[in-house]
């Protein structure tokens, strides 16, 4: 059965979507069967996976409202498949914002995604869920069906502050809704070793969270930043760039870490 991970951080702009699409592409590149679920109404992970969110007939919104199954709504990008990094995409667009209003009166509303994933879980080795930065019904749906959370973090002064909020949220979900949920690991992203403060925060993270900090470090890399405007993950856009190679290394670490 698939291992299901949310990529989450309650702080915006930390490279969450970049992590999701590049980890998905990296895992696909090393032979894993992957589904990427975009749970953010901005649809950036959808666009960054080579899928035009404006042309989607069905999205995760339809799945949450139970008007479509994941098998009906998932798509692929030929650009990614041709590059040997193809993964399935359950896309999102602005429609998804309505789910917050439309699910309010529904029973077991936080389990809608979990129920839908249960039907297709066997098709995948990994399911990655890109969560919005706020704690919403959408994020809760992601956290309720996940085995763990991957937290991308920039090694900056306020990084630990944002982490405290997320840890608190995860504890609450663990206690009330999903006993399996745990932080799988902290991923240091946009790392620049020339900046002393980043080195110091990185050391603090390792001292405090020990083996919860992934060994792989994702460097600040302009090719990763450029890739979304071409509608592909950096792993596909420039496979030889340091950023792309780091994400493939991270994918390999993930495979090893969860004992596959």
């Amino acid at each position: 059965m698939a291992k299901i991970f949310c990529i989450a951080n309650q702080k915006g702009g930390v490279g969450k979507t970049t992590t999701t699409v590049n980890l998905a592409a990296g895992l696909a590149k090393v032979g894993q069967r992957v589904l990427m679920v975009d749970l953010d109404p901005q649809g950036n992970a959808t666009m960054g996976s080579g899928v035009d969110k404006r042309k989607l007939a069905l999205t995760v919104y339809d799945v949450l409202l139970e008007s479509a199954s994941i098998a009906e709504a998932r798509v692929q990008s030929s650009k990614l498949v041709d590059a040997g990094c193809g993964y399935d995409i359950l896309g999102a667009n602005r429609d998804l914002a309505g789910a917050e209003v439309e699910m309010v009166g529904l029973e077991r509303r936080e389990k809608r995604l979990k129920n839908a994933i249960a039907q297709i879980e066997k098709d995948y080795d990994f399911i990655l869920i890109d969560c919005p930065p706020s704690l919403s019904m959408l994020t809760l749906n992601g956290l309720c069906c996940a085995h763990g959370v991957i937290v991308p973090m920039q090694c900056e002064y306020f990084a630990l502050e944002g982490l405290a909020d997320l840890v608190n949220t995860i504890k609450q979900v663990h206690a009330n809704l999903n006993k399996e949920l745990a932080i799988i690991g902290l991923l240091r992203v946009m790392f620049d070793p020339r900046i002393t403060l980043q080195q110091q925060v990185s050391e603090q993270l390792k001292a405090r969270f020990a083996d919860k900090v992934f060994n792989t470090v994702i460097p600040r890399n302009v090719r990763l930043a450029e890739a979304p405007s071409y509608g592909v993950p950096g792993v596909v856009f420039d496979p030889l760039s340091k950023g792309a190679q780091a994400f493939v290394a991270f994918a390999e670490e993930m495979v090893l870490r969860i004992g596959k």
């Binding site: 109404p41 404006r54 007939a57 919104y61 339809d62 667009n93 602005r94 429609d95 998804l96 914002a97 309505g98 789910a99 917050e100 209003v101 439309e102 309010v104 009166g105």
Partner: protein, 180 residues
């Protein structure tokens, strides 16, 4: 007395142009338009979420003035929102029948049309020769939503092409609805 900013203009698919009575009311009377992100590709969830935000931002009970797809938005929003108590009344003009053959393929996410009684008072104005909704269908919507039906005669889609100017009859219906 309803503050003009709490009277919300809800245009339909592709928006309402400058000569549409909704735009004329907005310009002349200071009503607030619910400006959707995308008028050409109307995503139901997006429109519902934005209406919810605007209703929550009003300072007092709001009055909705909807045209065409805007009427379907009112029905969809009202069937889910926990904040319908913040709406005092709705004027629903020329509802766009998204289930008709010409519209269903392009506005697929808007079906099925919610047919629950609206939790606020409403008036539905329908035309005898509206290409986007037969009068019989409009009668059905009014009955389902609990709206008072007003027959506008042969007025097309009750829009800028109908030659209504700033539609004083509609303004009178709105005043009647607010003060009833």
């Amino acid at each position: 007395m309803t503050h003009p900013a709490n009277i919300l203009i809800l245009p339909g698919w592709q928006g309402s142009g400058p000569q549409h009575w909704q735009s004329l009311w907005q310009a002349r009377l200071g009503y607030q338009r619910v400006d959707q992100h995308d008028w050409m590709q109307p995503l139901r969830g997006d429109w519902i979420a934005h209406l919810e935000d605007v209703v929550l931002s009003t300072s007092a009970p709001a009055v909705l003035v909807a045209h065409s797809l805007g009427c379907m938005l009112v029905a969809a929003w009202a069937s889910h929102s926990r904040n319908t108590h913040r709406v005092k009344a709705a004027l629903l003009v020329a509802p766009g029948d998204v289930a008709q053959d010409a519209l269903r393929p392009v506005l697929a996410s808007w079906s099925p049309i919610p047919l629950q009684t609206l939790p606020f008072k409403s008036t539905l104005v329908a035309s005898q020769d509206d290409p986007y909704c037969s009068f019989a269908r409009a009668q059905g919507f009014a009955a389902a939503w609990g709206a008072t039906l007003v027959d506008a005669g042969a007025a097309g889609h009750i829009n800028a092409d109908s030659g209504l100017g700033d539609w004083p009859q509609g303004q009178a219906l709105l005043k009647q609805l607010i003060h009833s």
